[in-house]
């Protein structure tokens, strides 16, 4: 940039009227711009130097709260959260009292979605399955975002040996089969006796972080040499602060996209683990567990599979919408003024 500003042309400051330098048009254009000193800035337009500048996040929040996409998705997520925390408000049939006599029966009064193969109430299981599924999806996503995000950002931004070590570590972890890792992890004495949602979250985080790490690394590499980073460094920001304040926020778009989809795939991954006997214990209800158990009857009784899948879809949809809204709000270029 600086070369362009070298005064190879005679730029006389505050000339009135502003004369065009270089290639001068032959046309005479009238300019109605008053000299600056003659028209003082009005109070509204003046920069209030005492007010704290709005941070990127605060600006995003202002932008966000007006978006219908954001409002709808937040309401949906709140609904899912309430169902997860207070399932008993939404269903009054005990999801664990299953009578084989009702096996695969259709809907009837009090059981709006029918029964599973084991004779459990489908509606009740979908409602009560929300908690475990949401916990697995949400906490795994948060976990991989923290670990993968930090690893990827550091690797991409600093490059060199940090990149070599972190990126290759990611390669090693990514190559390890999830199933093998899970079988081993679930056998650790700490997990064996009290297998829970947390065990599953831990396993999925350990074997899932490299994906986010790679996406973050790519986005950071793309942005680390951008003008605004150079500018912020020129303004005296330390390298690390430039990463945190400028590079990362501008690299968030692909991370948000991947994270919002992964939330759904983690819930499904839990199903696969449960299916193989290394996920949640069968006494913990989850959508994944129910989808997996319904698979053999998909030809004859697809509804049993459909409902937990629908619940899963709605959850994923609301997080994808939230991600979209958040991404738009964070993107200064897309902001409409």
């Amino acid at each position: 940039m600086s070369e362009n500003l070298t005064p190879d042309k005679d730029l006389s400051p505050a000339a009135t009227p502003p004369a065009r330098q270089g290639k001068v048009s032959s046309r005479v254009i009238e300019h109605y711009v008053a000299p600056l000193e003659e028209t003082p800035l009005s109070a509204v337009d003046s920069v209030d130097v005492t007010a704290a500048p709005l941070s990127l996040w605060a600006e995003a929040w202002r932008n966000l709260r007006k978006q219908p996409l954001f409002i709808i998705s937040t309401l949906l997520i709140l609904l899912v959260l309430v169902v997860a925390i207070f399932p008993q408000l939404f269903a009054n049939v005990d999801p664990t009292s299953c009578d084989l006599g009702n096996s695969a029966e259709g809907a009837r009064s009090g059981h709006p979605l029918g029964f599973t193969l084991q004779g459990c109430d489908v509606y009740s299981r979908v409602i009560y399955g929300t908690r475990a599924s949401l916990m697995v999806g949400l906490f795994t996503t948060i976990g991989v975002l923290i670990i993968g995000g930090v690893m990827g950002a550091l690797a991409g931004y600093y490059g060199g040996w940090i990149d070599v070590i972190l990126a290759r570590l990611g390669d090693v972890f990514f190559a390890l089969p999830l199933i093998l890792g899970s079988i081993v992890m679930m056998q650790l004495p700490a997990f064996r006796e009290n297998r829970s949602v947390w065990t599953v979250v831990l396993v999925l985080v350990i074997f899932g972080w490299p994906q986010i790490a790679r996406i973050t690394r790519g986005a950071v590499i793309e942005n680390r040499n951008a003008d605004f980073v150079t500018a912020s460094k020129a303004l005296g920001l330390s390298r690390f602060k430039a990463l945190v304040r400028h590079v990362v926020p501008n690299s968030l778009a692909p991370i948000i996209v991947v994270a919002s989809i992964s939330l759904g795939t983690f819930i499904v991954a839990e199903a696969t683990l449960s299916f193989l006997g290394i996920g949640l214990p069968f006494s913990v209800m989850s959508w994944g567990n129910d989808i997996a158990s319904a698979q053999p009857q998909v030809r004859n009784n697809p509804a049993v599979l459909l409902w937990p899948a629908v619940a899963l879809s709605i959850t994923v949809l609301s997080f994808i919408m939230l991600g979209d809204a958040l991404r738009d709000a964070l993107d200064p270029k897309a902001r409409k003024r």
Binding site: R168, V172, P177, P210, R214, A219, I221, T265, L305, A334
Partner: protein, 306 residues
């Protein structure tokens, strides 16, 4: 130089991965020799002899050491059925590689195409349709989706053979590759869409439009090229995942590939097979990531490696 260094990094990564995976198999509970007997009795002397034959009576470090010793002479060990692991893997990897490349091509081509359109027409009908389709793919696990597609396309419509025959030719792999690539397709579409809509308002796009370039040229040359970095990153990481993680798809369509081999070997505690499969996977990862890094520099000239 950059490339050469990357290849040198393969050595510690390979040994790190094999050591880790060897340890993981070692740490899995259960007794592979007991499973070999199929739950029927086995003479104790036979059991002891078998244990010695596979070094299973040795402590971990000696087992791994013996494995490395064989590895140096390119001996990957034997399966419990007495076959050379190298031969077994040599048969399975080409099939899986074909499947993974087809799935990758499928998700790259359709993902970018749909993603671009959805990004350009954000909020319109096409965009919403793609979103709903992606939701189905995400929410219905592969073991259900694959099963249903096999039944509809393979059995009821009869458009393709429901399973893949031994040689696994390209044309029989189309349906499996489709199923395998579906979930990643959702990622690619949404990544492309996000990137495109972000770049549409960039200064260089305004410049290009102002220069009077056609919309097509603006989209393809300027927006797309600048939007591909996250997509390429994802696809690079996905290649390895497709090669190692095709267990379910390979099971449904009976593809004689690596996924099933790995799965069975893990269940049976057949260490040499698991280690060899993962060892090769790690190499694939490192090379795929190298290609991705080189592509970064091509896509965005500001990115340089020293």
């Amino acid at each position: 130089m950059f490339t050469l260094r990357r290849f040198l990094q393969l050595i510690p990564v390979f040994f790190g991965a094999t050591l880790l995976v060897y340890f993981l198999v070692f740490a899995t509970p259960g007794d592979p020799i007991a499973a070999l007997s199929g739950g029927k009795p086995m003479a104790p002397a036979v059991e002891a002899a078998l244990r010695a034959q596979y070094n299973l009576d040795q402590p971990f470090w000696i087992q791994y050491g013996l494995y490395l010793k064989n590895l140096v002479t390119l001996n990957l060990g034997q399966t419990f059925s007495g076959q050379e692991v190298a031969a077994v893997i040599g048969r399975a990897y080409p099939v899986t590689a074909r499947l993974a490349i087809m799935a990758l091509a499928f998700e790259a081509i359709f993902g970018v195409f749909f993603g671009v359109i959805a990004g350009l027409r954000k909020g319109k009908l096409f965009d919403s349709t793609v979103l709903v389709a992606s939701l189905i793919v995400i929410a219905v696990p592969t073991f259900v989706l694959g099963f249903v597609l096999q039944l509809v396309v393979g059995v009821q419509l009869g458009w393709a053979k429901p399973t893949v025959s031994g040689a696994a030719p390209w044309n029989e792999l189309i349906l499996p590759a489709l199923v395998l690539g579906l979930v990643s397709l959702a990622y690619v579409i949404r990544l492309t869409r996000a990137s495109i809509s972000e770049n549409m308002n960039a200064d260089y796009v305004r410049t290009a439009t102002a220069k009077g370039l056609s919309r097509r040229r603006v989209v393809v040359v300027h927006i797309l090229r600048n939007s591909l970095i996250p997509v390429v990153t994802f696809l690079g990481a996905d290649l390895g995942a497709l090669m190692g993680g095709a267990i379910v798809t390979e099971g449904i369509f009976n593809v004689p590939g690596v996924g099933n081999l790995l799965y069975k070997a893990i269940l049976n505690g057949e260490t040499p097979t698991v280690v060899a499969v993962v060892g090769i996977l790690v190499i694939v990862f490192v090379i795929a990531n190298l290609v991705v890094d080189l592509l970064y520099a091509w896509l965005d000239p500001r990115i340089r490696y020293v």
